[in-house]
């Protein structure tokens, strides 16, 4: 009966080791960037400071302030209207407001430039009507400008603010708002003194996501020649051929990121105090009068039209007009590349996410929690910065392997990783791991720990428990996690441009290249494909919204712990 005494706990350490290793690997590129910035080979830092740095900082801050305010007004305003008021089309807008999320900023930028530039149809029509003949005869806003970039990004990024404000209004503000009104405060005063302050932490998180995306953008600013940090890094890297300089710019950019991250942490810390009632109240649905109704409808409709419908229609028209069998075959090839890369990254990311979250779950402790946090940091790092880091790390690795092989076997291995699909995938993984981690973590968190205990005490080990209990319970979220990473990889531009193999195109790089050459028509089909893929998570979110609507059933039973009574 008696078994030998044994120390069997040690076996679980595999999970812990895996978790820590993944965290370290995902932190290496950023570490490399900072290290390189501090120990530059060919130091052009003084030169950068005296010439371009000030401009980069000013432009980046202006861009962030502009996009930030624009998305705040659009996002919070539409969320408030949709949650609190009754007007025609409200149900439709609940999820319709999310549609522009499917559009990468660079694609709307290409489309609007095409329409609004001097040779485009709008100015052409104006000249026709008013009889102007040259640029001197009239004033028309220059789309390829900082203002243009702000507008483009605002149009596609406001849904982040919308999504989080809406949730906050639903969860917290509705009840108190009514209370405030019943105490005699008018709707406007109630909005500004009660509802908005309560929702502020959530709104700040939405704003944080917007600003991260703004920092990350490369396609738009490149096309508009708006000199932000992303563009600067590319310039120093590609044109000045100076790695250390790029790393130094990247490090300054990381300071921006750090400020944003800390700001968001601060907001979230406050959120804890507010998040008292999670019970859904019925919506007040406060009917708008006469003209106001249509104003509200128009206000919600316009961002959707400009941010999604119009660009899509234009792309459709172009795709139709420029249809060409040969080009289409080429695009199909690029699409294949995109899909392969994105599926690969999505699948690996979800496996890593499962290992890391489950490792932290069964082993616990501050180390593994920290490991998960670190691995999720990649999402905050702009693509251009990560790309530099990945190149430096893989380049260093290639060189050491090559050295080693030469010394010991007398042969050169050349570049094993740099400029391969592996490099691109690695970049994607570091940047988008947070998406799968967050999804898997949230879903695994809903499985009560007693499920683990039940399975383990019934004789199943950690791995069998994951296979037989956790995976079946979180299946839907695992698919969601794969999908989210997949979609973001399909849209990704800056890392792909730097890290891709020679002559290797994805849909995004193809669109970027053709649009930069003013050949949007030829790229329309590829752009449409990206938008089509981008619609998938919007649908997913819409379903969640439909489910979370008051009076609607809760989540599917699969992810829910068993209740006491059926």
């Amino acid at each position: 009966m008696t078994k030998p005494w044994r120390q069997s706990w040690g076996r679980l350490d595999l999970w812990a080791v895996g978790t820590v290793v993944f965290a370290v690997i995902s932190a290496v590129p950023v570490m490399a960037v900072i290290y390189l910035a501090l120990t530059p080979g060919d130091n052009i830092w003084p030169h950068l400071v005296s010439t371009v740095l000030g401009g980069y900082i000013a432009t980046t801050i202006t861009l962030m302030v502009g996009v930030g305010s624009g998305t705040l007004v659009l996002g919070v305003g539409s969320a408030w209207l949709v949650t609190m008021c009754r007007f025609p089309g409200r149900r439709l807008f609940e999820w319709g407001m999310l549609l522009p999320m499917a559009m990468p900023a660079y694609i709307v930028a290409y489309v609007y430039t095409d329409i609004l530039e001097f040779a485009g149809p709008v100015q052409g029509a104006l000249r026709e009507v008013f009889g102007w003949s040259s640029k001197r005869d009239y004033w028309f806003p220059e789309i390829r400008s900082l203002g243009g970039a702000i507008t483009m990004m605002t149009l596609v990024l406001y849904p982040y603010v919308y999504l989080l404000s809406r949730a906050a209004f639903l969860e917290q503000s509705v009840g108190v708002f009514e209370a405030s009104r019943s105490l005699g405060r008018g709707p406007w005063r109630s909005f500004f003194t009660v509802a908005l302050p309560l929702a502020r932490p959530a709104i700040i998180i939405g704003l944080y996501l917007v600003l991260m995306e703004t920092l990350n953008d490369y396609g738009t600013v490149d096309f508009f020649a708006v000199n932000t940090f992303s563009l600067g890094i590319f310039d120093v890297w590609m044109n000045m051929n100076n790695v250390s300089g790029a790393a130094q710019l990247a490090t300054v950019m990381l300071v921006f990121v750090a400020v944003l991250v800390l700001g968001e942490r601060y907001a979230r810390r406050k959120q804890r105090f507010h998040n008292t009632s999670t019970k859904m109240q019925p919506l007040p649905g406060f009917p708008l009068s006469g003209a106001l109704r249509y104003l509200a409808t128009a206000g919600c409709l316009l961002p959707i039209l400009l941010g999604f419908v119009l660009p899509t229609l234009v792309l459709l028209a172009y795709a139709h007009r420029h249809y060409d069998a040969e080009l289409t075959a080429e695009i199909l090839g690029h699409a294949g590349n995109s899909v392969k890369l994105s599926v690969l990254a999505g699948a690996i990311a979800v496996v890593i996410a499962i290992v890391m979250t489950y490792g932290a779950r069964i082993k616990g402790g501050p180390l593994l929690t920290a490991a998960n946090r670190i691995a999720a940091m990649g999402y905050a790092i702009p693509g251009a910065v990560l790309a530099v880091g990945v190149l430096v790390v893989l380049g260093g690795l290639d060189n050491s392997i090559d050295d080693f092989a030469r010394r010991h076997f007398g042969l050169s291995t050349g570049l094993l990783f740099s400029g391969t699909i592996a490099a691109v995938t690695f970049g994607y993984l570091v940047r988008f791991l947070a998406l799968s981690l967050g999804t898997v973590e949230a879903s695994l968190g809903k499985v009560t720990p007693s499920m683990d205990g039940a399975s383990r005490s019934l004789g199943r080990g950690a791995f069998a428990t994951m296979r037989l209990v956790h995976l079946p319970l979180i299946r839907a979220s695992v698919l969601t996690a794969v999908l989210l990473v997949f979609v973001d990889c399909m849209k990704e531009l800056p890392m792909t441009v730097i890290l891709r193999p020679f002559n290797f195109q994805t849909l995004a790089t193809f669109v970027h290249q053709y649009a930069s050459d003013e050949q949007l028509g030829e790229a329309a089909l590829a752009a449409l494909s990206i938008v089509g893929v981008g619609v998938l998570p919007v649908i997913l979110l819409s379903l969640t919204i439909a489910r979370s609507r008051p009076g609607h059933g809760a989540e599917p039973a699969a992810a829910q712990p068993i209740g006491r009574e059926a």
Partner: protein, 353 residues
């Protein structure tokens, strides 16, 4: 010895010491109840016994196999225990049958099937074998959880507040069934509860835990109820009446006569705790110790009543007490009422300075 043996178990979460030298023995076939207030570490102790929490100090032995000691940590899956969780933790994606058969993977399919049906039979759930847990009532889920825990014939069963999720009527019934299934199985059982009446009903031995993570008293339900060693243990069973005073000649003089304070020195300041059920009311006052009282109010609880009374004479004149009497109290009768104290329900403790 067959069963569970825990010696000197200590546990801390960060800097908070939750368990302080807990030792206990559960022989095979016996049911021991850990009774203690919320947050005193009962669940932690069960989790240590199950191997879900890493042992920090002491040792755990199951059927003579050391499963946890410094340098020994047998993982839960190798301990052969049955753990029943407060939320039952039934696997929602598996049918009742598959839940019960979950731990029978070492048997071949036929044997597993027979065994699973056998335990389902034992808890009266064979009809529901193909259903999924969310279609079952709370009581049915509880029985499935019990069957699942017992199916692999564990050496030890751990129950964490197994009836907390049930309503009062269901609870009494399920408690009875669970007890008889466990007794049939003749397995060592350690159960956790913060309901003293539940512990009294189920347990062969109760171990009362205090907030300091120590065991305050161990004994049969009768010992805990009639010989509480500490005021804290005495108060577990509900609100108490209290008389303060100074000991003279080894006793305390009260309106209810001279009450013994065995063990307290003369001149010591003591408090006597008297259970409401230890105050008897009568309408003739012809027994020794009867003291006349004024009835303030009566509250019918169903099978018994709480009567609030005020003493009219003697040293405690004017003091208010609560008596618990069987059935209803006839307020309308209007006659006089006397109260008398049953010494078995009187517990003397020193007054803290």
């Amino acid at each position: 010895m067959q069963g569970l043996h825990m010696v000197g178990v200590r546990h801390a979460y960060g800097r908070t010491q939750v368990l302080n030298d807990i030792s206990l023995t559960v022989p095979a076939g016996e049911l021991v109840c850990l009774l203690g207030p919320s947050g005193c570490g009962k669940t932690t102790l069960l989790r240590i016994a199950a191997g879900m929490e890493r042992l920090q100090g002491g040792s755990v032995t199951i059927d003579e196999q050391v499963v946890a000691a410094p340098n020994v940590q047998v993982p839960p899956e190798e301990r052969q225990i049955g753990f029943m969780f407060q939320d039952y933790a039934l696997f929602p994606h598996l049918s009742v049958f598959d839940n019960v058969a979950f731990g029978l993977f070492r048997l071949d399919q036929g044997a597993a099937r027979t065994r699973a049906m056998e335990v389902l039979e034992q808890v009266g759930m064979t009809h529901h074998a193909d259903k999924h847990p969310h279609l079952l009532s709370g009581g049915q889920q509880q029985r499935v959880a019990l069957a699942r825990a017992l199916a692999p014939k564990p050496r030890l069963v751990l129950l964490d507040e197994p009836f907390a999720g049930l309503d009062t009527n269901m609870r009494a019934r399920v408690r009875q069934q669970t007890l008889s299934v466990l007794k049939q199985t003749n397995v060592a059982t350690l159960m956790v509860t913060h309901d003293p009446r539940e512990a009294m009903f189920m347990a062969d031995r109760i171990k009362v835990m205090g907030e300091n993570g120590q065991i305050l008293q161990s004994g049969r339900p009768e010992d805990i109820y009639y010989n509480p060693v500490e005021e804290y243990v005495a108060r577990l069973f509900g609100p108490m009446n209290m008389i303060k005073g100074t000991v003279r000649n080894g006793a305390l003089e009260t309106s209810f006569g001279v009450l013994s304070v065995n063990g307290q020195d003369d001149g010591a300041a003591v408090r006597l705790l008297i259970r409401p059920e230890g105050i008897n009311l009568s309408s003739n006052g012809d027994q020794p110790g009867d003291t006349p009282v004024e009835v303030i109010s009566a509250h019918l609880l169903g099978d018994s009543s709480i009567v609030r009374i005020r003493i009219r004479d003697g040293i405690n004149s004017g003091a208010e007490f609560q008596a618990r009497i069987p059935g209803a109290f006839d307020l309308m009768g209007g006659g006089r009422t006397w109260a008398r104290v049953d010494p078995a329900h009187v517990f003397p403790y020193p007054q803290e300075q």
